[in-house]
Structure formats: C-alpha cells, structure tokens
C-alpha cells in the first residue's frame, strides 16, 4: 500500500494474488515427504533416494528427468504404489501408502493409477478390448458394461477400428494407444507413463504426446511421466530433475533453455 503503484509492481502483485490461491485450491494428489529408500543387497546398502519431497497436483502433467541410477525409477515406483519408502511418507490421494497391505496396494493400483509402459506390456494373447477390460474385471466390472466402456475408451484413444485385433497385429503406435486405453480403464486419477515414447518413432511419439495432453484436458487426469523426450518435456506443466537420490531442480518448460547441454 505504501509502495508506489508502478505497472510492473501491480502486475507482479496481481500474479501472486491470482496464482497462489489457485494453486492452493488444486488438490494435491500425490505428496512425498522426505522419502528415503535403501536397498540392501547382502551386506551392502544402496541409497536410492536420499530424501525427496514433492507435491503433485490434480490435473498436472509432470515430467521426471534423471540419468539412470539417479533414483528416478525408485521415486516413480513409489508414486505408483509399487513399493514403499524406507523412511518418509508417500501419500497418494491423502492415503499413506506405508499403511496399506499388499491387497490394499493392489486396490490402489487398480482404481487410482493407470500405468503406461515403455514396451507397452500388452498381454499378447488377448485382443485390444480384452486388454482394456482386464483391469475392469480386477475392479469388479464385467460383462456388457465392461465391454461397452472398453469400446468407448478405445474410441477415445483412436483405436475404435481395432477393437478385436491382437497386439501382434498392431503397429507400435497403435499398441501404445491400446496401452493408454488400458491405463484409463478404471478411470484413474493418476496416469504413470514410463518413457512412453521411447520405443516409437518421432511422428508416432508426437501423436502419443498429443493424445496424453488431450486426455489430461478432457478427463482431468494427472499425468506423471519419466521421459527424455524433448517434445514431451515441452508439453508438460512441470519438469523435475533427479540426481543422486535427490530432487535437484523443478522448473516449468518455459523457464528452460532446451538447447542447453543437459538435454543432449
């Protein structure tokens, strides 16, 4: 109040006022607090994570970067409810995963999280539709209802004409589309994508990124991906660097010089 109302200052103040409450209103869907993970192999201990904290908000598109051995996969596994931290807390949708037994973790994976893998991991003996309805049957949805929902999701990802094809009869991009449809089967709030474009050519990879961005907007899902794909990084809301078991940097894509050395 006492300061002079320069246009720059007003703009900065307005930005603070409007952005901060908006950020607070957004639900924090994944929260990690000082997470440490130690792997024991015989007598040697390996510290994969040395205290990582982060918040991931609903509807966010977050990319995680990091060299191999940085703890990226470990953090990724914990966000996905695939393993528990040695110390610290991981909350997925306000639930501390350390308190869940393995059945409850399975329940969490089934309904809250969709997985997309680098090598698709479709079940080869099943058709596209069966691949999509499989997680539905784990959630107790079967029969015509599951089939209709499966077909609707396959149409959404642009695979409506390949419903009864087996994965081996599809191209890489189509297989990844099917995998994305499978990840969405139980309407999860979080989609975890592990290098989803690494096995695809440039053009198909770009299509996949567009599809994920479209789903993020249309369905409001939170997307967390581990990736080195520049196009994907540019599309994300936030980028996270991990090195040596710690989160070393968080940035928005527009703040980053993509031509710098760290991306090559």
């Amino acid at each position: 109040m006492t300061q002079a109302a320069t246009p720059q200052a007003t703009a900065a103040r307005l930005e603070r006022l409007f952005e901060k409450p908006a950020a607070q209103q957004r639900r924090c869907i994944i929260r990690a607090v000082d997470v440490k993970k130690v792997y024991r192999m015989g007598n040697t201990e390996t510290q994969a994570l040395r205290g990582a904290s982060l918040d991931i908000f609903q509807g966010e598109y977050l990319s995680i970067m990091g060299p191999s051995g940085s703890g990226k996969s470990t953090l990724f596994n914990m966000i996905g409810g695939l393993s528990k931290p040695s110390s610290g807390k991981v909350y997925i949708d306000q639930v501390d995963i350390a308190q869940l037994d393995h059945n409850e973790l399975a329940w969490l994976r089934c309904r809250k999280i969709g997985y997309i893998f680098q090598s698709y991991n479709l079940i080869q003996v099943m058709t596209c539709l069966e691949n999509v309805t499989l997680p539905m049957s784990f959630a107790g949805l079967e029969g015509d209802e599951a089939r209709e929902k499966g077909i609707a999701i396959l149409k959404l990802v642009g695979l409506g004409h390949r419903v009864l094809h087996k994965p081996s009869e599809l191209s890489g991009g189509q297989q990844q589309r099917c995998a994305i449809a499978r990840a969405l089967a139980n309407s999860p709030e979080i989609v975890l994508a592990d290098e989803p474009t690494a096995n695809l050519d440039q053009k198909t990879g770009a299509e996949m990124i567009e599809l994920l961005a479209k789903l993020k907007i249309e369905l409001g899902v939170t997307i967390v991906s581990a990736t080195h794909d520049l196009k994907m990084l540019k599309r994300s809301d936030r980028i996270l660097w991990i090195a040596d078991g710690r989160i070393v940097k968080t940035a928005r894509p527009e703040e980053i010089d993509f031509n710098s050395g760290e991306f090559h």
Binding site: F76, L82, M126, L134, F138, E142, N186, D194
Partner: protein, 370 residues
C-alpha cells in the same frame, strides 16, 4: 475402510473366470510347452495305472484259475466216490448262500445232465435264480430219494437231519460236503479230520448205517497261506516303492515346467499386478493351469496305462480270460483314483511356483530387459 475391505473382497472373488480365460489362452499360445508338461503327467499316471490295472488283471486271472481248479477238484472227488452223474439223480442240500466256487460246482454238476433235487435248509438258503428252472425243489427228507449222491453246500451250519433216514432210498449213500464246516451232525466226529478228502463212516462204527462222506473242499495248509501272504506283501512294497518314485519324478517335472512358465511370464505377471491383480489372482492362474494339466494328463495317462496293462496280460493269458475275470468295479475305482492322484499331485507341484509368482514385485513390469 469397511467399504474398501468389501471391494478388496470382491476383487478376490470376481476374477476366477478371468483367471480361467487367461490360463486357457496361455495354454493355447504356449501349446508346445504345455504338451510337454502334460506328457510328463501322462507318463507318470500311465505307469501308476498300468501297475494297478496289471495287478487287477493278475488277481482276476489267478482267482479265475483257482476257481476252475477248485471246481475241477470238487467234481473229481465227487465222481470218484459216486461215479458218473449223467442220467442219475443228485440231491443238493443248501444251508446258506452259495460261494462262487459252489455255484460253479453246481453248474458243473448240472452240465452232466443228472436230475437234481434241491432242498433248502435255514432262512438264508435260497435257490439261485439262474438255477431255479433246472432243478426240482423238494423237501429235505425227499432229497436222497433215488440219489447217486447228496451234496451239502452253502454258508451255514450243518443241517440237523438224520442222514440215515434221508439216504434210506438212495441208490448210493454218498454225502459230499462242499465245505468242511457244514458237516452232517449225525456223522461221527472222527470222520471230520481236515484235509482227508474221503473217509468212510462204515468202518468207524459197528453197525452204523453205511454212508460215505466226501469232503470236497480243500483247506490250504497254513505254511502255504503264510508263504502267499509274504509274497503278496513283498510285491506290494515293491510296487508301492516304484510308484512313489515315478510319481515323485512327475511332481518334480511339473514343478520345473511351472517355474519355467513363471519366469517366462515375469513381465506379464508384473503388468497384471500393476493393473491391480491381487497376489491371489496370480496364484489362481498357476493353480488352475496346473490342475488343468493334471486333469488332462491324468485322464490320458489312466487310459494309456489301462490299455497297456490289459494288452500285456491279454497277450499273455488270452484276452477272454483277462477281460472276463478282471474286477471291473475295482478297475473303475482305480481309474478314478489315478485321475484324482494326478490332479492332487499337479496342484501340489504348482504350490511353490504359484507362491513364487504371486510374491513377485509389480515393478518387474517396468523393467524392459526380462
């Protein structure tokens, strides 16, 4: 939390059908390996079943030849005392249900075309339906009339009758005892020595009515029985041992190929776990797969084993004898037993691989080089 627990319960129960589908598709795609596993079960169970069926065939054949020998001996003893029976009159006193040997003996007598007078004594004695048309039912005191011989048969106490009076009108006074136990009460005790095939009462008493008792049955000597028992025990131990080894090898074979199947499917299992499959679902998949293998292999093995054993014994002793004498009821029971054994062993063999698979961490699916 209760809602969550209920949903988890549902998650356990519902996908049993899905598990079956996954297994069937898995078997289809990995048909070659499944066939090898099934062949292992087939061989093990075929071996078990061939031994069981062989034993039954052997027992059937030896029982049949024992029966034939016994009937032949009875016939010989009777005709040695009474002479040829054709066109003569033979009396039968039935004191109880007939044994298989007695039944055949009576039929052998009938085959010589005598006139048969049949008397029943006691409540348990009933003329067999198949013989009723061929014999003439009479009262017990009429049984000896014109008779060349009177035969006492059936499982029961000796008839309390006066043989002297019964045999008064007989052509020849001969009493044939089909069993040593059914001794005529009026006969002197001294005549009933075991193993004496014939004895004459005429010489025993001074002026007793002259009639001859012929002991038609032959009790095996104790040392013979003991030797047979020892031999049977030895055989049973030997075949039990061999069967156990064969089945253990089968179990290990199934376990081995199931473990292979688990490692082959690491990624698939990990993916399913990521998609929300419970450990119990993964366990189910392997247990169902293995019970299907056990069922198919068990049925095929049982059929092969039975055919093999019957063929071997059929070529050795003649198919008519083997197929006619084998105890079909016991054979059926053994077949059902073998299939059950196959099923149980397959499930036992799959317990370890199924646990191994279900404890796998889902993060496996994220690793690409498996």
């Amino acid at each position: 939390m209760t809602q969550l627990q209920k949903e988890i319960q549902d998650q356990v129960r519902l996908p049993a059908k899905v598990a079956l589908d996954v297994v069937l598709q898995g078997i289809k795609i990995r048909l070659g390996r499944s066939l090898v596993t099934i062949m292992g079960v087939v061989l093990g169970i075929a071996f078990l079943m061939s031994i069981l069926a062989g034993q039954l065939a052997k027992e059937g054949v030896s029982h049949e030849s024992d029966l034939r020998a016994e009937v032949g001996r009875m016939m010989n003893f009777l005709t040695a005392e009474a002479g040829p029976l054709n066109e003569r009159v033979v009396g039968v006193v039935q004191v109880g249900p007939l044994s298989e040997a007695e039944n055949r003996f009576v039929k052998a007598i009938l085959a010589q075309r005598p006139k048969v007078q049949w008397a029943t004594v006691g409540g348990n004695a009933k003329i067999p339906a198949e013989l009723a048309g061929a014999v003439q039912a009479v009262a017990v005191d009429q049984v000896g009339k014109e008779a060349t011989a009177v035969v006492v048969a059936g499982d029961g106490p000796a008839p309390a009758v006066d043989w002297t009076a019964i045999l008064a009108n007989a052509r020849q006074k001969v009493v044939g005892l089909a069993r040593g136990t059914a001794a005529p009460t009026s006969a002197p005790a001294a005549e009933m020595e075991s193993n004496s095939s014939t004895s004459s009462s005429a010489s025993a008493s001074s002026d007793a009515p002259a009639y001859t008792t012929v002991n038609l049955s032959r009790q095996p000597r104790p040392e013979e029985t003991a030797a047979a028992l020892k031999e049977a025990t030895k055989n049973r131990f030997r075949s039990t041992w061999i069967i156990t080894i064969a089945l253990a090898v089968t179990v290990i074979g199934i376990t081995n190929s199931m473990l292979m199947s688990v490692t082959e499917r690491f990624r698939e299992i990990g993916t399913m776990k990521c998609l929300g499959a419970l450990s119990s679902f993964i366990r189910q998949i392997f247990l169902i797969e293995s019970s299907l293998v056990g069922l198919v292999g068990g049925v095929a093995g049982t059929i092969f084993g039975t055919l093999f054993a019957l063929a071997i014994y059929g070529f050795t002793y003649g198919f008519l004898l083997v197929l006619g004498s084998i105890n079909w009821g016991l054979l059926g029971a053994s077949a059902v037993g073998s299939v059950v054994v196959a099923l149980v062993l397959s499930v036992i063999a799959a317990i370890y691989p199924a646990r191994f698979a279900s404890r796998m961490v889902p993060a496996m699916a994220l690793r690409t080089n498996i």
